[in-house]
Symmetry: C2
């Protein structure tokens, strides 16, 4: 049954990568909202803690990778916002 | 500890609503990728199944709401794509 979690983790994590890539390439952060990104980042951190509590390898892996994506988007937003 | 999951659920679910609202208002689906939306939708469905298996109310609630958001985005994408 853990395999269902792993497939879910791969799919939802993969769905974020094109956004990160697109933002990195275009440097267009106009449609990204900083409060939303921060909210999302905090939410993912809490999911990670919850995943540790639930002893779920799928949740821990998925959220650890998504945290990196979220940090990159926040970094891009702050870096390119005024250009 | 379940409270951590619930706060995480609120934050990550809330982070999707502005995207749904924006797409609904602007009818601009040019930056949304259909394969990504479908991938994300399938991923969320699997997270829901996994949440039931893990007996996690937080995961079940969060993913049930996010499934609705994902369906709406896919619907908008198909509806407004050719206009």
């Amino acid at each position: 049954m853990e395999i269902v979690g792993f497939i879910a983790a791969c799919l939802t994590t993969a769905a974020f990568l094109p956004q990160v890539y697109k933002t990195w390439k275009t440097k267009d952060v106009s449609s990204l909202s900083l409060p939303m990104l921060v909210m999302f980042f905090v939410g993912i951190c809490l999911w990670l803690i919850y995943g540790v509590y639930k002893e779920s390898p799928s949740m821990i892996c998925a959220n650890a990778i998504t945290i990196v994506s979220a940090i990159m988007l926040i970094y891009f937003k702050l870096k390119y916002q005024k250009q």
